[in-house]
Symmetry: C2
Subunit: 349 residues, 2 copies
């Protein structure tokens, strides 16, 4: 089916209108009429070729909310009209030990990304959510609670699960002292989730104003990381640190904040960090770890939790025609905290 999208055609030009073909429905496929799509930093990195030359044209978007318009003959989990979401993955091998555990994001044969990935089963390249619609196998589609603000739910599919998964994996619980390092798309969800899990949440940031913003999101306390006296006062006191800084940085000042046996988990910086001091790990048996998005099962658990606790992202709505301006603003960190495209603007264009 002929589908309107916005696509990047090379590294330097802005995104522009484009038409793609969505595949005909297979037995397990769901045809989703997209309503909203969040704008993730990965979209920019991919469109601009920061992570290697992509398969142009790139149709970005992996924070997708929409309604089921049609289902394949063997679909059992969804029906026409359901409010659904699609995140970063649309396929995995579903038979390796990671997939068996519900950890498709760590599929040993590699998952298929929602855009710019080779689709091993159906052929071609995947196209994401800056689009009128999408076809996805039901095992990679999520139920979205109807009671939350739907447009603000889109970023849950990437920024949300990326922070939810490590908070759950490292068993953050009531009363834990949890530090969220950095306040952006990921960090603001980290604060909301950790708070909802009952933790004492500390926003760790270089910026006083971001600290104030974090308090409005639910942070109990602010730690200004460039203030050596404050950092020393919080040494050896944290049960978990969620490090959302998206670029290379010195992790050592943060490591010393952890209690014995506790973990700092990286979710942003997929690049070399500054030299880690072995002594900071050895002297308190600390752990430096990383975590990648989340599995389908835990993404559903997160969405259900968001429904129960009325949690969504803080978003700024845009029309698809303003996507390039949104990219420019994101590169200056000028958004609180996620842009979401109203796909109606694409459909009516």
């Amino acid at each position: 089916m002929s589908t309107k999208t916005y696509a990047a055609f090379n590294e330097t030009d802005p995104l522009a209108p484009h038409t793609i073909e969505r595949r005909h429905l297979h037995a397990k496929d769901i045809f989703i009429d997209i309503e909203y799509c969040g704008v993730c930093h990965s979209d920019i990195h991919t469109a601009k070729g920061d992570w290697g030359k992509p398969n142009y044209p790139v149709v970005p978007g992996h924070e997708i909310i929409g309604r089921v318009k049609e289902v394949g003959s063997e679909v059992t989990k969804f029906k026409v009209g359901d409010l659904v979401g699609v995140g970063c993955m649309v396929e995995s091998c579903q038979h390796c030990s990671s997939c068996d555990e519900g950890l498709e994001q760590y599929c040993e044969n590699g998952f298929t990304g929602t855009y710019n990935s080779k689709n091993s089963k159906h052929g071609g390249i995947t196209y994401g959510g800056y689009s009128e619609n999408i076809v996805v196998e039901e095992d990679f589609v999520l139920h979205v609670p109807e009671n939350i603000d739907v447009k603000a739910a889109a970023p849950l599919l990437c920024a949300g699960i990326t922070t939810w998964s490590p908070l759950r994996h490292w068993n953050v619980k009531v009363g834990d002292k949890v530090g969220v390092i950095g306040l952006g798309g990921l960090g603001h969800m980290g604060v909301k989730f950790a708070k909802a899990m009952g933790a004492h949440v500390v926003m760790i940031t270089t910026s006083e104003s971001k600290g104030e913003d974090a308090k409005k999101l639910g942070a109990d306390e602010v730690l200004i990381s460039k203030d050596a006296t404050q950092m020393k006062a919080h040494a050896n006191s944290f049960d978990f640190l969620l490090n959302t800084i998206p670029v290379k940085h010195d992790v050592n000042p943060y490591l010393q904040l952890l209690k014995l046996d506790k973990t700092m988990c990286m979710v942003g910086a997929i690049e070399p960090l500054d030299a880690v001091h072995g002594g900071l790990l050895i002297m308190k048996r600390r752990n430096l770890a990383g975590s990648l998005i989340g599995g389908i099962k835990e993404t559903q658990e997160m969405l259900d939790f968001c429904g129960e606790h009325n949690i969504v992202s803080d978003v700024e709505m845009i029309d698809i025609q303003n996507i390039n301006t949104a990219y420019e603003r994101m590169m200056k960190s000028d958004v609180k905290y996620r842009f979401v495209i109203d796909i109606k603007s694409l459909k009516e264009s």
Copy 2:
């Protein structure tokens, strides 16, 4: 009591004979007649001031084996004639949460090292095992099984527990694929313990000849870390990595060997490592951790295990008069795998 020792008097001169006073026995104290003392790299670092100017004269030695000669009035765990050991610690606060858990090595108020430490309770500076005798509170004294080769048991008190503790903490079990990185005093004990725990043990080394040596110690397999083809073949396959390399190095080639969710534990390099690649942590939720010696309770468990499995270190015996030559050889890694001083040579000098 006036006690013969060997001590370092400044950063550059060799160790030389010296006389110190051991304290009179307090109620909980044990007077130990030292028979053997292992020679640890920490002894050299401290004697030479590599870790900051020490409190000269330094009497090194924290791998001590001896017999109880006298006990204080309230000692309950030991009697005259018992074969005992003393490791890296002679005191801790014994009331913080770490001490309560039997993790005195992570005492929140700082443990007292066996040598070159301020003795907060009894005053003065601690003097170690290059000595005829030592006085230690019973809570920091270990029972040594009588059935093992006593002189070769000395290195268990530091090199042994330093490798035992992380293997236990990260729950190495029968059938696990465990890599021991580096073959020295620590690495050779790591191989023996991991093998005795039922793991499939892989020696990871740059040196073919060390690989062969590791097989004689029980390693099932050798992985030459500078061979990219071998490293690739072992990618994502290890359940645990024990990294005993004592100096700054690139940990990234090792991290990629770990399976999903698994840990590499540093026990050697108490200094900045080369830049860690965040992606290696994130993409497989891997952990980079560290571990420091071990608590008193687990040190006793290790010694009991060594008694049951007849495990000791591979040692080269020396007289105290040859300690300076031993230091020179250790700095060239010319020992398999630990020097142990026969303290009789000191007593009869």
